[in-house]
Each structure stands twice: as structure tokens, then as C-alpha cells.
Symmetry: C2
Subunit: 191 residues, 2 copies
């Protein structure tokens, strides 16, 4: 990927996150770059190509992170805290892409769609494995494991809806709060 292509991709992502993939035209993207719509096609083969690159790029970032964590020795609680920290880190440091990745992947078609879903399921499995370990260790509640996994992921992914890079909470602080919430719940410890 050339420097210019990366530059165009970034500008495109900034536009796409605002109105969503389906409601954004190739002309909208071109305008943000002050170029003609037709010129985009010397860098990308189609509008969907931009979506595809964005979604798969994010997916592989998450994939790399979970693979690494899953092979580390820490106990389940530490693993989960690390996974959440990494997840928040990826989301917040690529906020435009993250929003497209989370909202617009359904617009992928054909093989891209199914391949994406597969990658997403594989990541989900990585998280599930951590929670399963916690249950096996007797540290986590024996809850419906699929249910627990989805609930963890939903609360982590939701941060893109309100995260503000100039806000008072750093990604690390957000990750810690989120981990505490997920691990300990809302109710005060009855010691």
C-alpha cells in the first residue's frame, strides 16, 4: 500500500464514519480529497473495496491482539483485563475505522461478507476461551458462556459511541473502569 493510498483511505474513512457506508457516495469521498470521483479508481477497484480494506484491517488488528493474549500465562482475570485494554486501545486509536468496522460490515457482499463473519467469530472465540478459563479456575460465575461473551463485547464496543479523544478519560482509564464493571458489577461489595 502506497503512502498516497493510505492517505486517501484515511480521508475516505473520515467521510464514511459520518453518514455510514451506504449513504456515502463515491463523490462525497472524492470531494473530501479535492479530486475527481473517477480518480479514486486508480487506487481502489470499487467503493466496496474501501469498506473491505477498512473492515479486514481492523479485524486483523483484533485478531493479532487476542492470539497473543491467549498464549500468555496469566490467569483469566488478568487475561480479560488485558484483552479489554488491547481492545479499547485499538478502537480509540483508529476511531474512524473502528466505527465503520462496527457499523458497516453488513454491507460487505459475497465472500467478503462470509470471510468477515468468520474472522469476527474467531475473535469472539478468543474472548470466550478466556471466560471459560475463568469458570474452570472457579473464579468466574458459571453463566451462559456465549451470553457472557457477547455482553462483554457489546459494552467494550459501545465506547466508540461516546469516546472523545479530548475527553478526561484516557483509553487506559476507560479500559480499567470497564474491566472493573464487567468483573465486579454494579453492586457494592458486601464484605
Amino acid at each position: 500500500m502506497t503512502e498516497r493510498k493510505r492517505q486517501i483511505l484515511q480521508s475516505a474513512q473520515a467521510v464514511l464514519k459520518k453518514k455510514g457506508y451506504a449513504a456515502t457516495s463515491v463523490r462525497d469521498i472524492a470531494k473530501s480529497l479535492e479530486m475527481e470521483p473517477a480518480s479514486l479508481y486508480s487506487h481502489f477497484s470499487s467503493k466496496e473495496d474501501i469498506l473491505k480494506l477498512t473492515c479486514f484491517d481492523m479485524a486483523s488488528k483484533f485478531d493479532r491482539a487476542i492470539q497473543e493474549i491467549n498464549t500468555l500465562y496469566f490467569d483469566a482475570e488478568q487475561q480479560l483485563r488485558m484483552a479489554i485494554r488491547e481492545h479499547v486501545q485499538i478502537l480509540t486509536s483508529h476511531l474512524d475505522s473502528a466505527i465503520i468496522f462496527l457499523r458497516d460490515w453488513r454491507n460487505l457482499t459475497g465472500e467478503s461478507f462470509s470471510e468477515f463473519v468468520e474472522k469476527r467469530n474467531s475473535y469472539e472465540k478468543g474472548i470466550r476461551k478466556i471466560i471459560q478459563t475463568g469458570i474452570d479456575e472457579g473464579r468466574f460465575n458459571e453463566s451462559d458462556i456465549k451470553f457472557a461473551t457477547l455482553t462483554v463485547l457489546s459494552s467494550v464496543n459501545w465506547i466508540v459511541e461516546w469516546y472523545n479523544p479530548e475527553g478526561k478519560l484516557s483509553p487506559t482509564q476507560i479500559a480499567e473502569k470497564l474491566s472493573n464493571f464487567i468483573l465486579n458489577g454494579l453492586i457494592k461489595n458486601k464484605l
Copy 2:
């Protein structure tokens, strides 16, 4: 609203939830009803009109539920459990509308957009109030209250992504699991 209009609306919602508002054409909607695209306009003034009706209809359901709960005497834990139960009930019993409501509200324009955001914030405030009560009662952890509210809502809303009406979990069971998760967290009670 005539019976026929409601019927058309329902069919439209079934189509909209599949591809999303922006990617669905008026022709797609008409086809699902075996009528001509132009005929839709004797029931609706525009494509956005359908989105507007769907979003605001859902919003008012949530609004009614939270208003009621907020005036009841139960303590914060009970209130939160009730709010979650009602929320899950509304989502699952209007699944098509719920998905459109959650995913496509950003496509509203002008006044509709701002009015919707306002309604959504007001519901959020209702949930926040319950959590605040819990903190005041000394029952809930003193966490960032806005943060806690958003995390609760995200995990509840996520159920539309995996809920299956024919699955083994009833809405009531889902609500209870979710409440337990949110209140007690993943970690086993160290008694």
C-alpha cells in the same frame, strides 16, 4: 393509522432491518408488498417518513416504560431489574423495529434527528436516575455514572444482535441473566 398502513409499515420494517435504511430502496419495500413503488406514497409522504414513524414509535414505548418505573417505590436494584425487563420485552416483541431504531436513527434528518436524539437522551436520563438512586442508597458502587449508564444500555441493546425468538431463552430469562450480570459482574462472590 389505518390497518392497511400498519400492515405496510410492518412489511417495510421487515425489509429495512435486512439491508439497513440507506441501502434499501422504495422499490425493495414495494416489492415485498407486491405493489407499485408509487402506491406507497398514498400512505407515506417519503421514505424517511417510514423511518421516522419506526424510530419515534419505539422511542415512545421506551419512554412510557421508564416514566412508569421511575415513579414506583421499589429500591434501585428492583427498579433497575424492572427497567431491564421492560427494555428487553420491548426489544424482543418488536424485533424488526428495534433493529431499525437502534441502527438507522442516524439517517433521520433536520428536526426529526434532533428530536430523536432528545428523546433518546431523556430515556438515558431515566436509567441514570435509577443508578444514581442506587449510589445514594449506598447499594451501588460509586462509579462514573454516565459511564455506568452507557454500559448498561449497550449490553441490553446488544441482545437484538443475537436474540432468536425460537431460541431456548425467553425474554424474561434473558432479562434476568442480564440483570445478574450487570449487578454482580463476572467474578464469583467471595463469601
